[in-house]
Subunit: 368 residues, 2 copies
């Protein structure tokens, strides 16, 4: 399935949660399937940290979408039935306006002058995109991890526009440990001399070293301890015994360094900073004195909440907190805790029980 | 209790596990209490990553020892009864020969030319130190974390020299996840432009940024998720609402950055690299085809193994692996899994049940 992306420009000033305003911005998006005549079969997929609008199919660069195992003809979210939309979030680096874009006030890249964006801001821009597409109500909004936060936020920012809200491997707020990992990653980037206070574009460099250390830190938290033990254990890298040097000794070192390098080839450091901050800031209960029930009171969607047993980044207990608050508000909610070995990354993988669950939910509950 | 350190020079070449040889080196150490006439009351305390020979009492800089709550007159390891020895490990940065020392072959600091050292190498040097002190057999050898690895290694490298071996919050080998965290920390240091390939002394700089990121990463793994939640949670740093900037928003950010800065004021980056490698390499079962039972077969000490429920760096299951191997070899072993909230760092803290256990063990089992 060959797909192409589209772009829309927005000229109505956007008031951000930080107090800043963005006068103009563009959002790049992809769609899969056909919008029906009633415009009632739209499913919005929200992306997590390093993903993009390219959810499914194969793009012009030959790359499959990041959730291609989930979305497509005959797949759990069946694009023969649903019109699926993927949007690159504001502040990202895959085509929507972000730190790499030209700041009209200076004629230079925004860099670190790009305003801080929040989950709520993203939801607001996604709603405007749907307005342009003529979609007033979503059959479902859905996402994993940070994408799940956006889905949850949709359910209270625009309750009348969401029929089903599907929140996977997510949390109602980061823990101190989550914030700690994010901040160390940010420090690694911001202390890289090639960061230049966020204006590295003008210097023709990128803070590769910092960005790749940041990615390595993040990557460890996406995998489960057991999964790492199973995949890598203490296997040495192409040798029988130690070299006793500071080169690569273990496979896990080689793997992580490769992940770090690969990431710093394609991802923008300022975007990494912005997106980890959006994660930190997300806390819908905060405006309600910490009461998540009150925060979710206005929702009217039906909910599906999914967690994975070995996810130590956002463990099942956090999903259960969402479920408990929804139940206390007498919202309709289904909850599945899936026994999967792959840690936080499980939400992206083709686990049979997980996919069967999503398929079944869309087949029987979500009406186009 | 005012204490002073001593130093001993060794001129017999030391063959390291890496194959390298060190011709001359010095070890700095402290002792507490009196060695009895039979020289039978010595307890060797092995230190972990960032600690030193300064275990107990107050040194000339007014600093209390890192295990002062455990060791001293009337304390769980009672220095009215035992003669306690703390040694700064070879390669460290607190007085024993290490990367900051002058390499006699070049007249410059060793820097990254200092040989890679292992737990086994440390134990060998500690044994030579005991030889100089005229101590043939230890009443006990003891340590937490990396110190526990040294204690365990003592029990098989010099079985006849150890009466009791006390292994706390430790592991028979690092997991892939442990190695991953160590390697990311090393990458943060080695990618700092001020690292200069490990010869930063000659440039009059230190890789502060990298070292402090490394410490921040390590620090997260020393605390439990729950403990961090309890101590910091999502509490903001001296404000009621977010600033939406890349400055400090949360207390946990301030705390971690402070820990990173403080550490890079006093710790040497090359030592950090060496010690994390010693952790990675430790795996006594490796020479026995992965069979820990065989590795521990030659031990003749009595063992006490202690773990803490919330330690996710070296979880109780790893201690249980040691215990199972010892039991299978019919060695005498006591095991305690202590319900403590403080994660890996619990071994350093004054937990009532933990201290009562150590006190009781020394009072009733360890004979001076």
């Amino acid at each position: 399935m060959q797909v192409t992306s589209s772009k829309l420009s927005f000229h109505e000033p956007l008031s951000l949660k930080s107090g800043a305003t963005l006068d103009d911005y563009e959002l790049v998006y992809e769609t899969y399937g056909e919008l029906n005549a009633a415009k009632s079969n739209a499913v919005l997929i929200c992306h997590a940290l390093n993903a993009s609008h390219h959810v499914a199919g194969v793009n012009h660069e030959g790359e499959p979408g990041w959730w291609d195992n989930m979305v497509g003809p005959g797949k759990p979210i069946d694009t023969r039935r649903f019109f699926v939309i993927g949007v690159n979030n504001l502040g990202s680096c895959f085509g929507s306006t972000g730190p790499k874009s030209i700041n009209p006030r200076t004629g230079q890249a925004y860099g670190s002058d790009f305003p801080v964006v929040t989950v709520e801001d993203w939801v607001q821009t996604q709603a405007r995109l749907l307005d342009q597409l003529g979609i007033t109500r979503l059959a479902a909004v859905m996402g994993g991890s940070l994408g799940g936060m956006q889905a949850l936020s949709w359910s209270v920012q625009y309750p009348e526009r969401v029929a089903h809200c599907i929140v996977i491997a997510s949390t109602p707020k980061l823990s101190a440990q989550n914030i700690a990992f994010n901040d160390v990653a940010r420090q690694a980037i911001m202390r890289d001399p090639e960061f230049h206070g966020g204006h590295y574009y003008a210097h023709g460099v990128v803070p590769r070293r910092g960005l790749s250390v940041a990615r390595m830190i993040g990557h460890i938290t996406y995998l489960s301890d057991d999964d790492m033990a199973e995949k890598f254990g203490r296997t040495l890298r192409q040798k029988e015994d130690f070299d006793y040097t500071f080169g690569v000794e273990f496979e896990i070192e080689s793997y992580l360094r490769y992940q770090g390098e690969k990431f710093s080839d394609y991802f923008d450091a300022n975007t990494y900073l912005l997106i980890t901050k959006a994660l930190d800031y997300f806390d819908p209960a905060k405006a309600h004195g910490g009461d998540l029930q009150q925060a979710l009171k206005s929702a009217s969607a039906q909910f599906l909440v999914v967690s994975f047993t070995t996810d130590w980044r956002f463990p099942p207990a956090r999903s259960r907190d969402i479920v408990k608050a929804l139940v206390a508000q007498r919202h309709e909610v289904s909850y599945a805790e899936i026994d999967a070995p792959h840690g936080h990354d499980a939400f992206l993988l083709d686990d049979a029980r997980y996919h069967a669950l999503i398929r079944q939910y869309f087949n029987t509950r979500v009406l186009p």
